[in-house]
């Protein structure tokens, strides 16, 4: 369907795209419109998230909505901005060209936000302008004459506060209109550039098959793009058009003309004139609330304290708030296993269900409350705007190590999972910086390690009541070790293998906002769903396979349960690596856990549960309950009778997990992002090597000191 068709009743569902600056509340708006009717996926060929949803018009007609990645301009500088541009220009075969565009604008800084709108209006498609954060604008004393703006632009302008749901109804009404006016958008291209625009437009229409208005818009874009980012899945320019573009660029460079800047200037001139008509800046009533908060948060001393306090609060919450739900889940899991054992006759299938499936998955699910709290906090920090300040404070440190603040975000994401962190490195232009960040990202303790740390901490301290301070302290220690390791290795790499210049850093600091609790909650629910899905599928599958590997082949009749496990495939594998891990205090059963962690780190917990439960079970054959894993670990012994899980061993194990490269999925992603096997292999080697050496030092050193 041609994008330049006159607005008429659409025979099919119109496709809307939401576009806007980052931090303008786009996801809040998208959530408000689509609720739970959204689907998150991927644009084929690019690691950019595709968000689509459905909202309903006032007549109940479904309207498709695409949430495009936030951008400041259609002149793309990164893959996700490239995707936004490509989808709007209809250059992606996998996504329909949006029929209508919703431009979301932050009312508190109208001019900058209007720059993108100005570019979008060039496209000649129906646009609805949504002014978000009107409450914050009012608080800042900014008064926008909405009616005037509507008149000047000729398109519907809807003030709203997406967080409170205000204005959503009016937006839906506007979206339901069968006709939307096209904007009265004309502006003067500087004469020096006009000729180039005309020529490019003609070529785009003739050789790329673009409709006239789209062609003009794209021509203007090409002339603002100094190094255009192209991504997989987007149709490239025709050879003739590219030729014309290059010819003009060469000519201007020879003349010393700032061709890209000229267009930017023109647009802002037009925007400035518009803003003068439409915005009545109120009296600036001294420093805003945001400014006052920032005075503390970015203070040389207080700022650091705040950061440490925030991290500590996070970990304390993880331990205290989650306790009751965790215990409850544990009881339910044990009860379920007991029930199954009661109703089924003894046999392999029953064992598979209780010792494999329920044991494996159940143990992982007990960690759900803690992971939820972690994601809740991260969501809260993002939502309020604190994260940007953290990056601001950290930048100097990062550049000491040779990275820039941009690496902080991928590294911070890696606290949840290294995979998206590694993918987020695509925003880093410098290849050496990018590679360094990728190489150290897995050292940031990801959430999958959390169950391992928690299990070890529980097993480590004698007695049932572990002092909270100890738990929190140990957690912080592990995270600090991981973070320290990441920085340390980054420094090392940047000095040796990957020497290069420190890169640029330009970033917006959004004003502080009250967290949108509904959004954070939705986010958390989404994460919980994903976690459970992962548990239900991958981890279930692995637990079943692990059970099989630790049960078969069966030892000859009359063997003890310990001999049975040893006879099995898993046992043999564990024994095979035991010589390697004995010096760091691990035995073959832990070895099984280490190997199975390659599938996913948290599987260590499941596999340990399976291996020890398989063992203990035989000893308590008629027992209705499964002994809690912690007790099982405490009772575990070396062949000579020494306890296996001494506090020192637990510590050594935790340290091993901080540093070792295990997750297969991460290795696969690194392979894909670096296009070679060399780096993932190197990464696995250096990380696992470091893990072993440090565990060795801790274990042997500790033993020598008499622990």
């Amino acid at each position: 369907m041609s994008a330049d068709a006159k607005p008429t009743l659409y025979p099919r569902t119109p496709v809307y795209a939401i576009i806007g600056n980052p931090n303008c509340g786009k996801s809040t708006l998208f959530n408000a419109l689509t609720g739970l009717k959204q689907k998150v996926g991927n644009y084929p060929g690019v690691t950019v998230e595709k968000k689509q949803g459905t909202t309903y018009s006032q007549h109940g007609q479904p309207l498709a909505v695409i949430d495009l990645p936030g951008t400041y301009s259609l002149a793309a500088r990164s893959p996700d901005e490239a995707v936004t541009r490509d989808v709007l220009l209809g250059r992606r075969a996998d996504t329909p060209t949006p029929d209508r565009i919703i431009c979301l604008v932050d009312a508190t800084n109208l001019e900058r936000n209007l720059y993108l709108v100005h570019q979008v209006l060039d496209l000649g498609r129906p646009v609805i302008l949504v002014l978000n954060m009107m409450d914050l604008a009012a608080a800042a004393g900014v008064n926008i004459r909405v009616a005037r703006l509507e008149k000047e632009l000729g398109i519907p302008v809807i003030p709203c506060e997406a967080v409170n749901g205000k204005g959503i109804l009016q937006l839906k009404l506007a979206m339901s209109r069968p006709d939307l006016p096209l904007s009265r958008h004309a502006w003067d291209v500087p004469p020096a550039i006009a000729a180039a625009v005309a020529e490019l437009q003609a070529s785009l229409a003739a050789n790329d098959g673009k409709p006239p208005l789209s062609a003009r818009a794209e021509a203007l874009l090409l002339l603002t793009d100094q190094d255009s980012v192209r991504v997989a899945g987007s149709t490239p320019l025709s050879a003739r058009t590219a030729e014309i573009l290059q010819a003009w660029q060469k000519r201007w460079e020879a003349e010393g003309m700032d061709w890209a800047g000229a267009l930017v200037n023109s647009r802002y001139e037009a925007i400035g004139r518009l803003a003068a008509e439409v915005v009545q800046p109120g009296v600036m009533a001294g420093p805003t609330v945001s400014d006052r908060i920032d005075a503390v948060v970015t203070h040389p001393i207080w700022g650091w304290l705040v950061l440490v306090a925030v991290m500590t609060l996070l970990f304390v919450s993880i331990f205290t708030l989650a306790e009751y739900p965790m215990d409850w889940i544990g009881v339910q899991v044990a009860a379920l296993a007991g029930w199954v054992r009661g109703v089924m006759p003894p046999g392999d299938l029953r064992d598979l269900i209780t010792d494999g499936a329920i044991e494996g998955v159940g143990t992982i699910i007990t960690f759900l409350p803690q992971i939820l709290i972690l994601f809740f906090f991260i969501g809260l920090l993002e939502n309020t705007g604190y994260m940007a300040r953290a990056a601001f404070i950290m930048d100097r440190l990062m550049s000491r190590v040779g990275l820039n603040g941009k690496s902080f975000i991928p590294l911070l994401s890696s606290y949840a999972c290294a995979i998206p962190g590694i993918m987020a490195t695509r925003t880093i232009e410098d290849p050496k910086d990018r590679l360094t960040t990728i190489l150290v990202a897995p050292l940031m303790s990801c959430s999958a390690r959390l169950p391992v740390y928690l299990l070890m901490i529980a097993a480590l301290v004698p007695g049932d009541r572990v002092p909270l301070a100890t738990k929190v302290g140990l957690m912080l220690l592990m995270y600090a070790l991981g973070t320290g390791g990441a920085f340390g290795f980054a420094w090392l790499f940047k000095r040796t293998l990957l020497k290069g210049a420190p890169p640029l850093m330009i970033m917006e600091l959004p004003p502080y906002r009250l967290p949108g609790l509904k959004d954070v909650a939705m986010h958390m629910v989404e994460r919980a769903g994903l976690f459970l899905k992962r548990a239900g599928t991958i981890i279930l599958g692995i637990s079943i396979v692990l059970w099989f590997l630790s049960t078969f082949p069966r030892a000859p009749a009359g063997a003890t349960s310990i001999q049975q496990v040893e006879y099995s495939i898993a046992g043999r594998a564990g024994h095979a690596i035991e010589p390697l891990i004995k010096p760091i205090g691990f035995d073959w059963r832990i070895g099984i856990g280490l190997i199975s962690s390659f599938a996913a780190r948290e599987v260590f917990v499941s596999s340990t549960a399976v291996v020890f439960s398989v063992e203990n079970f035989d000893a308590n054959h008629e027992h209705a309950d499964i002994a809690p894993l912690r007790v099982a670990l405490r009772n575990a012994r070396w062949p000579d009778g020494r306890p296996l899980f001494t506090p020192l061993v637990c510590l050594s194990l935790m340290i091993y997990y901080v540093f070792a490269m295990q997750c297969m999925s991460t290795i696969a992603v690194v392979r894909r992002e670096t296009n070679t096997w060399r780096w993932p292999i190197f990464q696995t080697a250096y990380m696992t090597g470091a893990a072993w050496i440090l565990s060795f030092i801790v274990y042997q050193g500790g033993t020598a000191l008499g622990f």
Partner: protein, 51 residues
């Protein structure tokens, strides 16, 4: 072999097939497909760093 053993082995075979199929499908599709529970895009969007 008892019924239970056969059933158990069948399930194991199913699990293995499922896991292999997942890892093959994953390598074809870019990104984690959301399976790792990542908040990355949110962080990225909020912390848009300008190049």
């Amino acid at each position: 072999m008892s019924f239970q053993t056969i059933a158990a082995l069948a399930i194991v075979a199913l699990a293995v097939t499922g896991l292999i199929w997942r890892s093959v499908a994953k390598s074809a599709k870019p990104g984690c497909g959301g399976g790792c529970g990542c908040p990355s895009s949110e962080i990225k969007a909020k912390l848009k760093v300008v190049k």
